[in-house]
Symmetry: C2
Subunit: 323 residues, 2 copies
C-alpha cells in the first residue's frame, strides 16, 4: 500500500468479464479476463470477480489495500445510485444487488453503471473524447447503444433509460420491426444486424454485387458489406451510404439539442473507419446547425475493448472524489 | 433588511423588460414591466433596469440590501458563465458585458442565461415541471425554442447552443427554408408561423374551409387555426394534426435519448391546450419507448408570461447557493 492507490475497472459481459487495475490518471497497469459463469442465474459471477482480483493482487505482491475503489459496468437495466440490477438477461441476473454483493466480497467501495455508459465515459476520459466534457457516444454493435455525457456527467434520465439512441425512429412509416416493439428504429438500419438487413433488401436490385457470394455462403456480415464498399462494390456502397444517412440524420438532430464538443462512434462496426465517416459526415453536415458543427466533429472511438474497463475506473474515481 | 432576502428575477425582451422580486421559495412578491429602450443599440437598458429596481425598493420602504442576488434572462446568443452577450438582435446589443454592467449598477451578484432556458427553469421550479429534475421544455412561439434540464441543471452544451430544438429537421427532403439556413426544421412546421404556413399549403385542397375567410381578411394566425380546429373545421384539424405529428415525433426521439421525467410545452401556441395535446400524445406514444413514456407525460406550461422571471430568480438562487 502506498499513497498511490489503484482503481479496479471491471466490465461484465455475457461471455467474459474484463478486469483491470488502473491509475488515477487513467493508465492501465494490468488487464485480464475471466469467463462469465452464467450457470444458475449468474450466482457465481461476483465471487469469481472478487477471487480473481485478490489473486492478481497477490501475484503482484499487493493486498486489497492497494485498491481505493472499484467501478463496474454491467449489461441490462440497473439503478446506478444503488447498483441494483433489475435484469441482465445475458448473465441471468434478476433483482440482484450487484454493488452491495461486490462491496461485501472486496471490502472496498463499488460504483456501478451500464456497459454503454462506462464505454462512453472511458472514451471521454482517455479515448476519442479527449477529455471533452460534453460527449455524444454511439456504439454500433449487434444493436445501437449510446451514452450522453454533459458537463462530464453521464445522463441517466428519470428511470435510467437516457442514451437509448438505438430506438430513435429513423423510418417513421413502414420500417422493420425492432426488438423494442416499435418499428423503423435506428438500430434496424445502423447496427451490424441492420446493415446486413439493408444489404439483403438491396441485393435483389444488384445481382452483379460481390455481396451475392457472401449471401449464398451464409457469411454476409456488416464487416463484409463495409469491406466490399471499400473495394468499390456499388451495392455495398449504397448500403453503407443508406445506413450512415440514417445515423448522420439522427446525430445531427441530437447535436442540435445537446451541442456536444465531441461525437464518438464506437462498437465493432466502427472499425469501418473512414468508409463510414465519409457518408456519415455528409449527412451530419447537411442537417446540423453551423455553430453546433463548429463545436463538434465526429470521431471513431480509440479505446476499442478497453473503453469499458477505463470508464469503470472513471466512475470509481468520481465516486471517491465525491465521497 | 432581514434574514429573508429576496431575489430579483428579470426577463429582458425586445419590447418590455419584466421585473420581479421573488422569495427563495419561488413566491412572486412584486412584478412589473418597463419598456425596453432599444435606442442606440440598447445602451440604456441596464441603467433603466437598475433605476426601476431601486425605485420599486424605495416604494416598498426597502434598500438594495433586501436583494440577495439577481437573475436575468436575455434573448440572443450569450455565454452563461461570464454573462457576456455576443449578440441580441432584438435589443441591439453586440458584445455587451450584461452581467458585469448590471452588477456595477446594482451592487449585487447577477446571473445570466438565455430566455428559453430561464423559462424552462421557471417551469421546472414552480410550474408544470413540478419540481422534476429532468425536464424537456419546448416553447412554441414565433419560432420553436427549448431548454433541456438534466439533474436540475440546464444543458448549455459546448458553445451555448444546447436546446436548439427548433432546428431539429422534421422534413429531411423538400421542406421549407428556415431562418437558420437549413430546410425542413421543426420550426417551419410547429411554430406559430409554421402552423400558418401549413394552413396556406393545405387551403387550396379545402376551398370549403372556414380558414378561407381568415386568409382573405389577412388574419390567418396559429390561434385562428387552432380555434377553427376546435370548431370542427376539417382543414384546420388536418393542419393541427400535421404540425403536432412532427412535434410528437421529435419529442419522442428526444425522450428516448434524454429520458425526462416531465415534458412541458410552453409559448403562445401552447394556449391551444388539449386541441394540441391530443394529436401530440398520439404521435409521441407511437414513437417513444414504453419505459420512457412511463416516466414522462406531456404537459402544457403553467406559468405563462411569468416563467421567465421565476426562472431568472432560480438561477440567482442557484448561484447564491454555490457561492
Amino acid at each position: 500500500m502506498g499513497t498511490e492507490q489503484w482503481l479496479a475497472g471491471i466490465d461484465i459481459g455475457g461471455t467474459t468479464v474484463k478486469l483491470s487495475f488502473i491509475t488515477e490518471d487513467g493508465a492501465i497497469l494490468e488487464k485480464w479476463e475471466i469467463p462469465t459463469n452464467t450457470d444458475q442465474g449468474g450466482v457465481m459471477v461476483v465471487q469469481d470477480i472478487s477471487k480473481s482480483i485478490q489473486e492478481k493482487l497477490s501475484t503482484l505482491g499487493k493486498s486489497i489495500d492497494q485498491l481505493g475503489a472499484a467501478g463496474v459496468g454491467a449489461p441490462g437495466f440497473l439503478e446506478m445510485e444503488t447498483g441494483f440490477v433489475y435484469e441482465a438477461i445475458n448473465i441471468g441476473w434478476k433483482d440482484f444487488a450487484l454493488k452491495e454483493e461486490l462491496e461485501k466480497q472486496l471490502g472496498i467501495p463499488v460504483s456501478v453503471d451500464n456497459d454503454a455508459n462506462i464505454a462512453a465515459l472511458g472514451e471521454m476520459w482517455q479515448g476519442a473524447g479527449d477529455g471533452a466534457r460534453d460527449v455524444l457516444f454511439i456504439t454500433l454493435g449487434t444493436g445501437v447503444g449510446g451514452g450522453v455525457i454533459s458537463n462530464g456527467q453521464i445522463l441517466h434520465g428519470a428511470n435510467g433509460m437516457a442514451g437509448e439512441l438505438g430506438h430513435i425512429t429513423s423510418i417513421p412509416e413502414g420500417g422493420r420491426p425492432c426488438n423494442c416493439g416499435k418499428t423503423g428504429c435506428l438500430e434496424t438500419v445502423s447496427s451490424a444486424t441492420g446493415i446486413v438487413q439493408l444489404a439483403l433488401e438491396f441485393l435483389p436490385q444488384h445481382p452483379e454485387s460481390s455481396l451475392k457470394a457472401f449471401e449464398q455462403e451464409g457469411t454476409l456480415s456488416a464487416r463484409a458489406v463495409i469491406e466490399q464498399a471499400d473495394a468499390g462494390d456499388a451495392c455495398a456502397t449504397a448500403v453503407v451510404e443508406k445506413s450512415m444517412y440514417y445515423l448522420g440524420f439522427a446525430i445531427a438532430n441530437l447535436a442540435n439539442t445537446l451541442n456536444p464538443s465531441r461525437i464518438v462512434i464506437g462498437g465493432g462496426v466502427s472499425k469501418g473507419g473512414q468508409t463510414l465517416l465519409n457518408p456519415l459526415n455528409d449527412t451530419y453536415s447537411k442537417f446540423v446547425l453551423k455553430r453546433v458543427k463548429e463545436a463538434a466533429d465526429i470521431k471513431i472511438a480509440e479505446l476499442g475493448n478497453d473503453a469499458g474497463i477505463v470508464g469503470a475506473a472513471w466512475i470509481a474515481k468520481e465516486a471517491k472524489r465525491k465521497a
